[in-house]
């Protein structure tokens, strides 16, 4: 037995409601992030990620009160991300009960934010999300939800993030995201080999084998997905049993 590989459903939140449709039955309110999170927790999800995709100030407040509700009702760890630009945002969300926060564009714009979060709150709360795309010159990082290309190369940035004190890296391959043909295993394995912190694979899950590949070929510590879970295409208990049968350590 060893540390279990983690399965992490990701919920996009707008104005306090989950955005993507869901096939969950027996939910009083499928759009309710707390109810949905609870259902995933009961199915055996190891952690949850809540991503705030609201832009407005009012939406931020709604998100914070949702975080309080999640913390009160759900007994597994959860990460929150979206719109975190400074220490005050981190403080607010951790106080609301989040276990970890995830930063992306803010870290690319001002990398010192990673050091500051690690110093004030500990590395374990600091997840740095990296969106990257492969070009002929290699993998490049993107800002603003993948809309703005930067000159940062994936591996260089990931190492810097590691050295600045992040606790984990959440890597999304923009080429694989939403296509459902599997995770970017080659890039994932490179990250795992060159970093001393855990890597969460994101983008590309279409079937159960893709998760196995992310853990074996991609050497990931955790795998994140949204739609395959939300639409019930993959059920977490089935996925975990499958992974266990394939010899991968998971929490059952």
């Amino acid at each position: 037995m060893a540390l279990a590989k983690r399965i992490i459903p990701c919920l996009d939140i707008k104005d306090g409601q989950t955005v993507k449709g869901t096939n969950f039955i027996n939910l009083r309110q499928a759009g309710d992030p707390v109810e949905l999170g609870k259902a995933y927790s009961e199915q055996g999800a190891d952690e949850l990620v809540y991503l705030d995709i609201t832009a407005s100030h009012e939406g931020r407040k709604t998100f914070t009160s949702m975080v309080q509700q999640v913390a009160a009702q759900i007994s597994i760890p959860f990460t929150v991300g979206g719109g975190i630009n400074e220490l005050a945002d981190v403080d607010r969300l951790l106080n609301a009960g989040a276990d970890k926060i995830s930063i992306n564009s803010a870290a690319l714009r001002r990398p010192e934010l990673i050091d500051e979060i690690a110093r004030h709150f500990g590395s374990q709360v600091c997840v740095v999300a990296i969106d990257a795309k492969q070009t002929e010159e290699g993998w490049f990082c993107y800002l603003n939800g993948g809309r703005v290309k930067t000159e940062r190369k994936l591996l260089e940035w990931a190492r810097e993030v590691n050295d600045r004190g992040a606790g984990e890296i959440l890597f999304t391959s923009m080429d694989h995201d939403g296509v459902k043909t599997g995770f970017a295993n080659e890039a994932l394995a490179q990250l795992a080999d060159s970093l001393s912190i855990p890597v969460i694979a994101s983008g590309g899950a279409g079937n159960m084998e893709h998760f196995k590949d992310a853990f074996t070929l991609g050497k990931s510590d955790a795998a994140l997905a949204a739609s395959v879970f939300h639409f019930g295409e993959i059920k977490i208990p089935d996925l975990k049993q499958y992974l266990r049968n394939e010899g991968i350590e998971v929490r059952l």
Binding site: A4, Q73, S75, I76, G97, G122, S196, P198
Partner: protein
Amino acid sequence: MKVAIVKYNAGNICSVVNALNRVGVSPLVTDNPEELLSADKILFPGQGEAKNTMAYLKEHKLDQLIRDLKQPVLGICIGQQLMCRHSEEGDVDCLGIFDVDVLKFRPQRHEDKVPHMGWNTLKQPKDALFKGFEENEFVYFVHSFYVPVCAQTTAVTEYIQPFSASLHKDNFYATQFHPEKSGNVGERIIRNFLDL
């Protein structure tokens, strides 16, 4: 039942309050000696750094108070480590309730990432905290320092090497993992503690 949580300079106490609320208990978070001494059960949770938290406990005279408690006490994470003799984190003498020193994880291979973070299993869980437990149930850990296996170990977890997932001596119980974040398994541990 009166349940108190020791208030000091460690983080993440609100998740323990939430976990107690979920099992129908409203804990008092306090550093007031009278309130602590009169509680039926006391929790000593938190995330933090050993040297700073120990200095705070001393400064507020909570160190001797905790040692003298007679009711069941449950230390969690840094709480467990502070209840040991000494910690390598900041090279600091701790409360000395458990006769063992806290050490830093030293990775043996590239795959041994520190902190040890995530779900891992409990081996040979024994005593009242684990009433009704089977071998290899999963609980949630986040820590860079560990308590070696010793005479007071009540469950073992393996990461880099076997270490104490939990300890027990007299009225003092402690877990390295976070029962408040360990789903239904964690909730059973909290109920077992409240049933002591």
